[in-house]
């Protein structure tokens, strides 16, 4: 099963390689990983999307917790949560396609953030399904490039991590 795990870490030198090294060294897989500082400059938050049976996910969480720089580990499969991803897509936009692309952009509530006579660069956030759907709609037009942030997630409700 697929799990999204948030990891709060001390913002120390080498912490990212400790996490990624744990995954590669133990043969766990990472589908996506995103990292940035939190409101406290001494901590960073990582969101890791990984896959495995119950026992493996359990090991992943325990092993993460065991790392000295890890403060907290939350498995979003265990709670109600919201998940989002940001995507940038550069798509071919020759004159006859431009209107069609804009229609898609509109339907998806995406935005064009850069344009040339031959291309649009589109920005959109959404959950995974929506991001994938956008890519599928644009694929026939000829996608030149995409960049995705990987998922970030947060529990629903008033409580903080």
């Amino acid at each position: 099963m697929r799990h999204t795990i948030s990891v709060l870490v001390e913002n120390e030198f080498g912490v990212l390689s400790r996490i990624s090294g744990l995954f590669s060294g133990r043969g766990f897989n990472i589908e996506s990983l995103s990292v940035a500082e939190t409101i406290d400059p001494e901590t960073s938050r990582m969101t890791i999307v990984t896959r495995g049976n119950e026992q493996i996910i359990e090991q992943i969480k325990k092993q993460l917790n065991k790392l000295i720089n890890v403060i907290k580990v939350v498995d979003h499969a265990m709670e109600q949560s919201v998940e989002r991803e940001l995507i940038l897509v550069k798509v071919n936009a020759e004159s006859e396609m431009r209107a069609e692309i804009l229609r898609v952009v509109d339907i998806f509530r995406a935005r064009v953030i850069d344009l040339t006579p031959k291309s649009y660069t589109i920005e959109m956030t959404g959950d995974e399904g929506k991001v994938t759907a956008l890519v599928e709609m644009l694929r026939p037009m000829g996608i030149k490039e995409i960049a995705r942030t990987g998922k970030i997630a947060m529990g629903r409700g008033a409580k903080g991590l």
């Binding site: 090294g21 026992q55 092993q63 000295i68």
Partner: protein, 562 residues
């Protein structure tokens, strides 16, 4: 008053109670060595950095305190890697200090630069690159704290040369404050209660005790617990010494070269009480058949050990000693007499297994059997002697035939299986206990991996005894070739060997050799009566095998017995 980084390091070590530093100098650590010259910490100059870590590791295993070592950057640091990985696999508290090129040069492929923090990340419990001299004291405090608490392990501190020369005020922190590291020692009462229920319902329980018993100083509690309930008790290689081998309840070691009775008892038990053990593949054999009909209670300080290989029924996370104390208290309130009565048939069965296939070997006239040498050493060394081993047959025969009675008297590389470990580990133990008898039981292959340390024992008058069981083979590998590769002894015959007696003499040590069965006792006695280091060479039966043996991948009840 300001102090340099080098001074801060040594002052901190003193405050940590470090009395011996095992090390080897070089350019990046010259400032530390300059301070060490007249500093009240004893430095033992080894002859290879791998030995510095093993010695610190042996010191830690024997004393229960963290071992410390010091090496230079680049090759000095990379030479420590095997020692660090060895300590990591067996959860031994060692703190390694390495010099590093000056901060400004890091990343430039400077002379003798190696990214030792990167290299050792997967084989240390934690490691540090010091970037600011004002942080040095705190980092050292944390390093010792992390190494010795929770599940212990090695911690490396990499210090660039400019940090050693820079100055700062020195305050050694009293306490460690880390929001991300707070090991839990207390076993959960609810889980303990559940465990007691399972125990009282059992009719065929077995205690399976690992290195955690030794590490948490719980040998006494374990012995009390097993005796209180009459539960047969087996130990892993790392657990040896955690339970007295001469006790009626002792099943000996289990696993690949475990005793018949230990493996049978685990196979047929209805409750397995795992105490500070981690279900290593050399112990379990084929997992599906390991204690297949049993409920499992697992006590361990490290949550990642629990349900990693085998699903357990009652996990108890906590310090083994604390949990055993709680268990003893709780079971005392139950009907112990009745419980023991229920166990009587099971105890009888265990006794029968012991009688059916006791550990045994066939004595041939005149020829020295390696097992006999170990038995004799065990008989003559006394309960306080500290035994280390190398890796291979020598290690397994020691585990099988040496009667360990006390914790911290057996030093062996269990997890990594590092040839070359035993001799430097013995040096570390001997440095900690100059008056105790310390013996490295070795193979002729392994001893050559760190034989250069003979110079170290001579220089510091460390009276370590070495007993080489010389079979002229890389014996354990040859045994596998014999059993599973049609006796094709590819590269396992040591066709050229030094004259070990002369080699010892070349270093100024005493060398003794036994070629016949009749000489064994005499040689051992003479060695033990000698004040300085002695190397004993026993010319043993060349193709003797270690039995019982569970072929890799088989279940542990499928033992080859001869």
């Amino acid at each position: 008053m300001k102090k340099t980084g080098a001074q801060i390091l040594l002052e901190s070590l003193k405050l940590e109670g470090v009395d011996i530093l095992f090390g080897y100098p070089g350019g990046a650590v010259l400032d530390i060595y300059n301070e060490l010259f007249d500093f009240p910490i004893k430095h033992i100059l080894v002859r290879h950095e791998q030995a510095a870590v093993h010695a610190a590791d042996g010191y830690a295993r024997a004393t229960g305190r963290a071992g410390a070592c010091l090496v230079t950057s680049g090759p000095g640091a990379t030479n420590t890697v095997t020692g660090i990985a060895t300590a990591y696999m067996d959860s031994i508290p060692v703190v390694i200090f390495s010099g590093q090129v000056p901060s400004a040069l890091i990343g430039n492929d400077a002379f003798q630069e190696a990214d030792i923090v990167g290299i050792t990340r997967p084989c240390t419990k934690h490691n540090y690159l010091v970037k600011d001299v004002t942080q040095l004291a705190r980092i050292i405090k944390e390093a010792f704290y992390i190494a010795t608490t929770g599940r212990p392990g090695p911690v490396l501190v990499d210090i660039p040369k400019d940090i050693l020369q820079a100055q700062a005020d020195f305050h050694y922190p009293e306490k460690v404050k880390m929001r991300s590291y707070n090991p839990n020692y207390e076993g959960h009462h609810g889980q303990v209660a559940k465990a007691v229920k399972l125990i009282m319902k059992a009719e065929k329980p077995v205690v399976y005790a690992g290195g955690g018993v030794v590490l948490s100083n719980a040998a006494e509690e374990l012995t009390e617990f097993s005796r209180l309930l009459n539960i047969p008790t087996t130990t892993t290689l790392m657990g040896l010494g955690g339970f007295p081998e001469d006790d009626d309840l002792a099943l000996g070691m289990l696993g690949m070269h475990g005793t018949y009775r230990a493996n049978m008892a685990v196979t047929h038990c209805d409750l397995l009480i795992a105490v500070g053990a981690r279900f290593d593949d050399r112990v379990t054999g084929k997992l599906e058949h390991f204690a297949a009909g049993a409920k499992i209670i697992h006590i361990d300080i490290d949550p990642t050990s629990i349900s990693k290989n085998v699903k357990v029924d009652v996990p108890i996370v906590g310090d083994v000693r604390d949990v055993l104390q709680k268990l003893i208290k709780s079971v005392a309130e139950e009907d112990i007499e009745n419980f023991k009565k229920t166990l009587a048939p099971w105890n009888k069965e265990a006794a029968e297994w012991k009688a059916t296939y006791p550990l045994a070997y066939k004595q041939k006239k005149g020829v020295i059997k390696p097992q006999y040498v170990v038995e004799k050493i065990s008989e003559l060394a006394g309960d306080d002697a500290i035994i280390s081993t190398e890796v291979g047959q020598n290690q397994m025969w020691t585990a099988q035939y040496y009667k360990f009675k006390k914790p911290r008297t057996f030093l062996t590389s269990g997890g990594l299986g590092t040839m070359g470990y035993g001799f430097p580990a013995a040096i570390g133990a001997q440095a900690a206990y100059p008056d105790r008898l310390v013996i490295d039981i070795a193979g002729d292959g392994s001893i050559q991996m760190n034989i250069q340390e003979l110079a170290t024992v001579m220089q510091y008058r460390l009276p370590v005894k070495i007993a080489i069981l010389n079979n002229h083979f890389l014996g354990m590998v040859r045994q596998w070739q014999e059993l599973f590769y049609d006796k094709r002894y590819s590269s396992t015959c040591m066709q050229v060997q030094p004259d070990f007696v002369k080699l010892a003499e070349a270093y100024g040590a005493k060398g003794l050799r036994a070629k016949k069965h009749e000489d064994v006792e005499k040689v051992i006695k003479e060695a033990f009566a000698t004040e300085g280091p002695v190397l004993m060479e026993f010319i043993v039966d060349q193709e003797e095998d270690v039995y019982p043996m569970v072929p890799a991948g088989k279940s542990i009840s499928e033992m080859l017995l001869v």
